[in-house]
């Protein structure tokens, strides 16, 4: 087959077009850059890995086309399908693919991390021979490994949801429920509770963990500062429960009656 070279005229036209576009692009950059910076700061753009991973699934056109939310939703259904089959590698990959496609909903991050931290250690124990046969040290190792994966995953979520109290709470829950690390759990509950949108229970759990660690004085001081901030008409704030715990701590710490907490 003969390869025909473009005529000098066509070549000249081509070069002129490219150079003109280059000049236009360079001239428009000062207009584009500030807008792009603002657009990017407010929304997570599609990432290379999501495109790369999704290429094999044939959904790139959908992603570029704008069907990001629905593509992520369909992948979430697939995640649940492989999760039901206790397929660890497929579930882990699928969880990460969902948040790579659409990192905006915290729902995916929270539920994905729960699958990794709570379900996957059990699958590994089952595969290794079951609860009766697997030694405690191995079970503990599985817990540690999966919790580490889940926490790395949740830390990645902070890139898209900086300081989201629910993500911080999820980390705290893993420390408390899976790793039985009360100290680290308490630290994370405390950080979560400091956020203005944090659920009220975060502060209550922090105080209870302080009590569990025999740091009653600290818990008492914390609850005394917490109580005035709680809305009295909000059921979830449970101000009466907090007041009850203050009273319990006063008994335990033997606080003299005249020094006891009196809410205004």
């Amino acid at each position: 087959m003969l390869l025909t070279l473009p005529s000098p005229r066509a070549l000249r036209t081509g070069v002129t077009l490219i150079l003109s576009l280059l000049v236009a692009g360079l001239s428009l950059r000062p207009l584009e850059a500030p807008a792009w910076e603002q657009v990017r700061a407010k929304q997570p753009a599609l990432r290379l890995e999501s495109i790369k991973d999704a290429l094999g699934q044939g959904v790139t056109v959908g992603l570029i086309g704008g069907f990001r939310a629905i593509v992520a939703d369909f992948f979430w259904i697939r995640t649940n399908f492989v999760w039901e089959q206790n397929d660890l590698p497929a579930t882990q990959t699928s969880i990460k693919l969902v948040t790579a496609i659409d990192p905006r909903p915290t729902y995916f991050w929270l539920n994905g991390s729960r699958m990794i931290a709570y379900d996957m250690p059990n699958w590994r124990i089952d595969k290794a021979g079951g609860y009766d046969r697997v030694p405690e040290s191995v079970k503990r190792r599985f817990d540690l490994e999966q919790s580490k994966v889940a926490m790395n995953y949740l830390n990645e979520a902070f890139g898209f949801h900086p300081a989201d109290p629910l993500i911080r709470l999820e980390i705290a829950n893993i420390y408390l429920n899976r790793l039985k690390d009360t100290e680290s759990a308490a630290q994370n509950y405390k950080i979560a509770a400091q956020h203005p949108d944090a659920p009220y229970y975060a502060a209550r759990i922090y105080a209870e963990l302080l009590r569990k660690m025999n740091r009653n004085t600290e818990a008492y001081a914390y609850l005394k500062t917490l109580y005035p901030t709680l809305p009295k008409d909000n059921l979830q704030a449970m101000s009466q429960v907090v007041l009850g715990r203050i009273s319990e701590l006063e008994d335990e710490l033997a606080i003299p009656v005249e020094q006891r907490f009196r809410p205004e």
Binding site: R9, A10, T13, T16, L17, I18, S20, L21, L22, A24, G25, L26, L28, R29, L31, E32, P34, A35, W36, Q38, V39, K42, Q43, P44, A45, L46, R47, L48, I51, V61, G62, I64, G65, G66, F67, R68, A69, I70, A72, D73, F74, W76, I77, D102, R104, P105, Y107, F108
Partner: protein
């Protein structure tokens, strides 16, 4: 009498544009894609069960914009290429350009005709989506009034602005396709290259991010150059900001609008330049 002997005329340009518009709306493809997009937007509420991540209203908005972007891109590329090449294949371009008509009038007339068609498509799709969201939000306000204590959550002005930006993006895309068509020999080549250009424009920021800082100077220059040659279409995706935080910043909207308008003139001008060199 040649084109050079008469001044540039906006009335001739608008005649070509209105003719292009009429030709486009008579096409089955336009009606088919319009119906498909409208059907998809209207059916968004039936897909609510698939919604796991975001709120219901956000999901409907995302779904609607998905339909707008997907079918709008397909419509822009195919209609622009088809209307341009129908003139050449039917030899009507020969008759038309034999008269004292500027090639810029022809190219920009074609562009304006297609731009108007896409405008109708965007207006119908966005209008339907806004009506659907308004209706559903009203229902949710009755079911769950405590979540709407401060009134409606969605800012419908933002939805409108995103629709306008998508329309402008399709305008830039149409101008790119016209540029390709100005030197291409076939409709198919133009359509395929148009789709490639769409993908490149959407993903060029990834290339800039990933390859812009590599050690090889040649590769780095090449990638940065490509980043300058193709416009950044990801800039127009402000749909994510609907119902989130303070909404769309009017200054950003203004900048992106200006960016799109300038690019339309740049690509349109280059299409004219290339088309002038073409022998029909």
């Amino acid at each position: 009498m040649t084109a050079d002997s008469v001044p540039f005329s906006f009335s001739r340009l608008s005649l070509i544009a209105s003719n292009t518009f009429l030709e486009a709306v008579r096409q089955k493809l336009f009606n088919f894609l319009l119906l498909l997009a409208i059907g998809l937007v209207a059916s968004a509420q039936f897909f609510r069960e698939f919604n796991f991540g975001s709120s219901e209203l956000k999901f409907i908005a995302d779904f609607g914009f998905g339909a707008l972007v997907f079918f709008g891109s397909a419509l822009t590329i195919t209609t622009t290429a088809q209307l341009f090449f129908s003139e050449i294949e039917n030899r009507t371009a020969l008759t038309l350009l034999a008269k004292p008509i500027w090639r810029s009038e022809f190219v920009f007339g074609k562009f304006l005709g297609v731009f108007a068609v896409i405008g109708v498509f965007c207006a119908l799709t966005i209008g339907l989506m806004m009506a659907l969201l308004w209706h559903r939000e009203g229902q949710l306000m009755q079911i769950n009034p405590e979540s709407f204590e401060a009134g409606r959550i969605l800012q419908y002005g933002d939805l409108f602005m995103v629709g306008v930006l998508q329309w402008l993006k399709f305008g830039v895309l149409s101008a790119i396709v016209l540029l390709i068509a100005s030197f291409s020999n076939t409709n198919l080549y133009t359509v395929v290259t148009g789709f490639f250009a769409l993908v490149i424009c959407h993903l060029q920021y990834l290339a800039r991010d990933s390859w812009g800082n590599v050690d090889s100077i040649i590769l780095r220059t090449l990638v940065r150059g490509l980043g300058y040659i193709f416009p950044n279409f990801q800039l127009f995706n402000l749909g994510d900001e609907i119902g989130v935080g303070a909404g769309i910043d009017p200054a950003v909207f203004g900048r992106i609008t200006l960016y799109a308008v300038i690019y339309i003139f740049v690509f349109g001008g280059l299409a004219v330049y290339s088309f002038r060199k073409r022998e029909i």
